[in-house]
């Protein structure tokens, strides 16, 4: 066995280089930088939406119906004469709101259940794991459609519906991390100096599980935005005239033949956004989990 001091010194050094290494790997990764830029632009557009274009996202102009893209309206206008670019810019707000809201719910439910299942084990663990299996048995959109429908539509209910179905991955992720953390000497040490279960879970085990959880959040924001857009498209989410991208596509569907821009640009907006979070999420996962990077290359 190595002496105690020998153990501690290399540990601390790997911890520092781990974070630094993660940042270094992120900066080097072109996809990560690209994803970061997309997310930053999205944030700026969402915050400064009213100042980006001279038009109103909701007010209807009956003398400007279905105008094709031009200098005045770079992405054209919709069937109510509203500037499409303005609506898409305002849509950033909803996309981010949905992404953050959904992931917050998923984290709250998923991480809590994962911590409890992993830490206590036994009967509690098997009950929680059976519940996650159920989430696996019912197709996510089927369940989300049912939940959103029963709750009665609207953005808030879409966030709840999508949040209610996607937490499974977090539970499994955190549970696995907790199981390996429980074997570590630092948990034993915490218990030995008399920490209660709550303290051990929150102060010692939770931080240990964070890296894979953080890596996964960006990817699940991407999935959340896709699902929420789909629900809105089905008429169960954001209701017109809300400038939400999925609802805009549903709204513009009838005019697809005459006005291709209505059916095209909101979809591109969704794609770029999701691509940004996917790029960033992939890179984040590789950066936080160097083993995986080596394995894949």
């Amino acid at each position: 066995m190595k002496a105690g001091t020998m153990e501690i010194t290399p540990k601390r050094r790997t911890r520092e280089t781990y974070l630094k290494g993660a940042v270094r790997r992120l900066k080097r990764d072109k996809a990560a930088v690209g994803g970061c830029v997309i997310i930053a632009v999205l944030l700026i557009l969402a915050i400064f939406a009213p100042f980006t274009t001279p038009y109103d996202p909701v007010k209807q102009h009956y003398d400007e119906l279905l105008l094709s893209p031009s200098l005045a309206h770079p992405l054209g206008t919709d069937q109510y004469g509203r500037d499409l670019l303005t609506r898409i810019v305002f849509g950033c707000r909803y996309a981010l709101l949905i992404g953050v809201g959904v992931v917050a719910i998923q984290l709250a439910v998923g991480v809590t259940l994962g911590l409890v299942a992993g830490y206590y084990g036994g009967f509690v663990d098997s009950v929680i794991m059976r519940i996650t299996d159920v989430m696996l048995a019912i197709p996510s959109v089927v369940l989300a459609v049912a939940i959103a429908g029963f709750l009665g539509g609207g953005i808030q209910n879409v966030i709840i519906a999508v949040g209610a179905i996607g937490w499974r991955a977090y539970t499994r992720l955190v549970r696995a991390e907790v199981l390996s953390a429980k074997e570590e000497p630092f948990v034993e040490a915490a218990r030995a100096i008399g920490c209660g279960s709550m303290r051990v879970i929150l102060c010692h085990i939770l931080p240990y599980t964070l890296a894979p959880v953080i890596a996964y959040t960006s990817l699940s924001v991407a999935v959340a935005i896709l699902w929420a857009a789909a629900l809105s498209f089905l008429g169960l989410g954001a209701q017109p005239p809300t400038p939400e991208w999925g609802a805009m596509l549903a709204d513009g569907r009838e005019f697809m033949t005459d006005a291709w821009w209505i059916a095209t640009f909101p979809g591109i907006a969704i794609m770029i956004t999701v691509l940004g979070f996917n790029f960033f999420g992939d890179a984040l996962r590789n950066a936080l989990d160097p083993k995986m990077e080596r394995r894949l290359r």
Binding site: D133, V134, L136, V145, L151, F233, I270, F279
Partner: protein
Amino acid sequence: MVLVPVLFIVTILISSLMYLSPGDPVRVMLGFRAHEEAVAKIRAELGLDKPYYVRYLKWLGNIARGNLGRSLQRNEDVREMIRERLPATLEMAVFAVIVAVLLAIPTGVISATRVNTFIDNVVSFFSLFWISMPGFWIAMISVMLLSMKLNLFPISGRAGPPWTVEGLRYLALPGLILGIRQVAIISRLIRAGMLEILNEDYVRTARSKGLAERIVIYKHALRNAMIPTVTIFGLQIPELLSLSVIIETVFAWPGTGRLLVDAVLKRDYTLVQGIVLVYALLVILMNLIVDLLYAYIDPRIKHE
């Protein structure tokens, strides 16, 4: 997946879905100006005047005997409605799986054997793009370009069983869109699995004893790479059915997915419960099939 407890929790979940409705579900269903009598009648029909566990057990007893109740909006037998629509959904799903397998295996193998070349990068980039596009939007754009502009495919609907030419023509576009989505996911998995396996000793052995590269790749490497892929593919089945709900809606495909969306929009609670249950059973059944596939791909599993 442990079947019985999972099914048990599924039924509890489905039977309590109705409680999500804000306020009285019957009021919501009939509208707020409905007559008190009508409300009372429906409530008695649904058994809403009894406590939850009584209703749950009664419902459980009914579904155990294959009775899914009657549609609240159309007063038809839910089981019959689902049985009418299910073949269309299954047919699209099976078509998509075939497309996915036929395209994903070569793409995954090609990108794994030519790592970091132009082809590999194109495939990776395309997959990421495809995964980032909303399925319903791909469907809309395809209809706009391929059906409306180029007249290659019918716009929507279903013409008949897939073994007729007309039926296949209508199935092709929605089935392809559903399948290519899976290609993007599966080919990445095969690539990752192959990359790991191509470094194994037995692959080097196979090469050094002079086997043709084709045999090394397809017989030694691919077969082993398929094991984790089949696992993920099993997990991917619910995703496929999820997307099919949306694709069915875009293409007016007369399957259970569209029935579900209609039922939800019309607040037809019994129909929604029936469909969700059927989807859950479908996923569980397909997972069983995947488990059987393991034994075929990996003979070691049979011996255990």
